[in-house]
Amino acid sequence: MPETLVFYLLSAIAIGASALVIGQRNPMYSVLLLIASFGALAGLYIQLQAPFVAVAQIIIYAGAIMVLFLFVVMLLNAPQEDAAEWDRTHPLRRPTISRFGGLLAALLVVQLAWALLSARGVEAPVGAGAVADTGSVRALGRVLFSEYVFAFEATSVLILVAMLGAVVLARREGES
């Protein structure tokens, strides 16, 4: 089954790259690994018959947002994360706050796994009962500009505000 194989490969890339993003100190590598993860996710979207979302994922996330991150990392000359003084100590002897964070993340995994296991209907193959053509851009556009038109306009205002905010925040003090 090539389809299944592709799914597991892409999922492994997405999860592995994401784990490495938070697993090492150099922000430059973090950004690049996240791009790899986004690429794998785009592949999963194509498998889910959502080619437009897949391409938007590459254009918006990998092509714009990540370039912005890369730009900032380069602009600040990529300071490596400072090693804290307790970094080399045993994980269990570290300050509480870090243990707590790891614990919360582990708890979340357990909780989500439990929710998945107790849910019914998740064993059904995805898209088996789907009749509508969810892959067509035309159908997408129709719904976006009719049912969701208010949300769409609200988003454009949000982007405008964010743009102004970014300009104001990043401006050096004393500049007019």
Binding site: Q57, I60, P79, E81
Partner: protein, 100 residues
Amino acid sequence: MIPLGHYLFVSAVLFAIGTAGVFLRRNLITILLSVEIMLNAVNLSFVAFGRQLGTVDGQIIVFFVMTVAAAEAAVGLAIVIALFRHRESLNPDAFTSLKW
């Protein structure tokens, strides 16, 4: 055909990784990246559910998430730059005072 549960599992694992990143890392940029991982995990489950239900609504919500993520990245990175100018550090622990 891959079961819906598998997509949801991948999504759950990605979300957990993102959460762990926000809690464990001490670099503002990596923390923002972890937030992006969480948003993407949710996107994946939206698209999978949309495909399962045979509607395009899931994909449309993903577009809104993407635009919000773009706005978040722009403002977040602007804040990071402003903070870095003051303290020459990206460690969130360095920013403990409310005013300087």
